[in-house]
Symmetry: C3
């Protein structure tokens, strides 16, 4: 799954698409396929649990995966069509726009699982919302509603679920008609100042032994990467 | 216009005024005098358009202009008396206080014009409001109301238009009675940590070819720089 | 007082407690014991006033005090049980969670006293809330309500005063059952990126001559440091 997304991002970076969109294909944005398994602490305790998590995805692969977001040169949009859990939430700070249905929730239950936050969230979340709010999510497992996530700046805008898909996609089609070079240049200006710190965060995340398992799969629905072209096709 | 403001800031830095105030003198804070011309893309395309924009103000002048804000040693206040467009909005992140009438709007339609954000906004806006909100403004041309800008932290406080001038100026007169050295020192402590990054942002903005044209003029009203002295005169 | 808190933090860092909690023991969180004395400007003016302030606590002691917060390796929680003034407010940006009763207020009247903000607030406050809001507090002495502080991200959550103690402590007892290593690791990941800048801010604060006096005492109530252990005792 990680490698599929890395490949999709690499392709989108090169072609003539204008913006790139992530969404879930079912009721969930990304429900995490095996998180519940981890609430049973194995005999070896927390360390053993973390190791088991580590077997799902090597540290190196996770690092490459997050790096693919950091380095992506065009506007990156998350269309959060339902509940989001784990790394699908932590990488949101690397997106340029985050649209959410009012049915969406945002949950990063890492410490509960004996793990630590990844996806550069230890850098992006405090930057976006301040430490007093970021700790509630990253240390103390607070699950946010879409409205709360929007108030804290993690989400750009919330839409009623009934009109979510039509409103969001018509807006994205309009955005894809903006001058592509100008969009990419603006994004790169914004992100260039952060790349060093994000790279540094990534190395620290990677050095920490409690890596998060591969939960970036939509258990009840497939995760999709779409590209918006200026001429309207997706 | 740029040079006039640079000169006014240099003078205010040296005299015994306590705080320095920017405001528009008509219905608009800064409407941008020629932005509409740029929506007609010339034959040479976006690059040519950017070059034409470049003829209005050299890159060097724009850099010096933004630097004058970054280096200003005393509290800098924006009194946003109406709609604000372009660089008058992007430099707001370099102000210490931003007071707005509820009639004010905040608009940075750069990508729409084949240009990219300047005024250090690629650094200050994500810092103030997070990327998911900053991109709406800087990449996707979202126009904010005064209330929205206040919620995101770009504006300190919003006032009803009917009492805007009297409320704001009586408050500023009171602030000008605070110990001037303490105010300046506090501002410099706050800003010193950011100067390196703002200088770096400025060099990147300047290196980007799509420089923004000179729109820092109040088309329907003159732009004013006032100084508040501790003894009450402006 | 400073040394007592430093010692308490050093002990809590080493023992097997999971999270560490600050609270005031009376009606106030920290009222500042002698701030009112400083509103009378002495004959020598602001400089003299600052010097007098300096006699209450050496610069070195203040630096060590703030450093104790920066370096603290476990989750640090402020239970703000009433009005908070001065350095008890400015260090809040170094806490991981801030819970406040709706009776709490947050006030940093430094410039009014011819002094400048400390406790790393010149770095943490702009990061949390943006400069346009931080200046209102740090330069222009705005006193925040609990709700305002929560909206700006300085406070994690506000509780009705009638149920404040019971709600907060039952929540903290539950948090203390989370895997301690995971909590500490997550906190350290979050904070490690900031330590350099906070250390730099601390040196600048210390170099500034207008140091803040020792007001970290609860005039009408004692300041308490509690530790929460995973087995429930406090």
């Amino acid at each position: 799954m990680y490698n599929d997304i890395i490949a999709a991002l690499e392709q989108a970076a090169k072609d003539d698409s204008v913006i790139t969109v992530f969404t879930g294909a079912g009721d969930f944005y990304c429900s995490g396929n095996d998180l519940s398994n981890f609430t049973k602490i194995p005999e070896g305790g927390v360390d053993e649990m973390a190791k088991q998590g580590g077997t799902c995805s090597g540290d190196h692969q996770l690092t490459e995966y997050v790096k693919a977001y950091i380095d992506f040169p065009k506007p990156l949009v998350a269309v959060v069509n339902g509940p989001a859990v784990g790394i699908s939430v932590t990488v949101l700070g690397l997106f340029d726009l985050v649209y959410a249905t009012d049915r969406a929730t945002f949950h990063t239950p890492f410490s509960q699982l004996g793990q630590s936050a990844e996806g550069c969230s230890s850098y992006t979340f405090p930057k976006i919302m301040g430490n007093a709010k970021a700790s509630e999510m990253l240390l103390f497992n607070k699950k946010l509603t879409a409205a709360q996530a929007c108030e804290l700046g993690l989400v750009s805008e919330v839409f009623p679920d009934s009109s979510f898909q039509s409103e969001v996609w018509s807006r994205l089609k309009a955005y894809a008609k903006l001058p592509p070079n100008s969009l990419a240049l603006s994004k790169q200006l914004i992100r260039s100042m952060e790349k060093d710190r994000q790279g540094q965060t990534l190395r620290q995340d990677s050095a920490s032994t409690n890596q998060h398992p591969s939960d970036h799969q939509s258990a009840r629905g497939e995760f999709k990467v779409s590209r918006c072209f200026s001429r309207g096709q997706m």
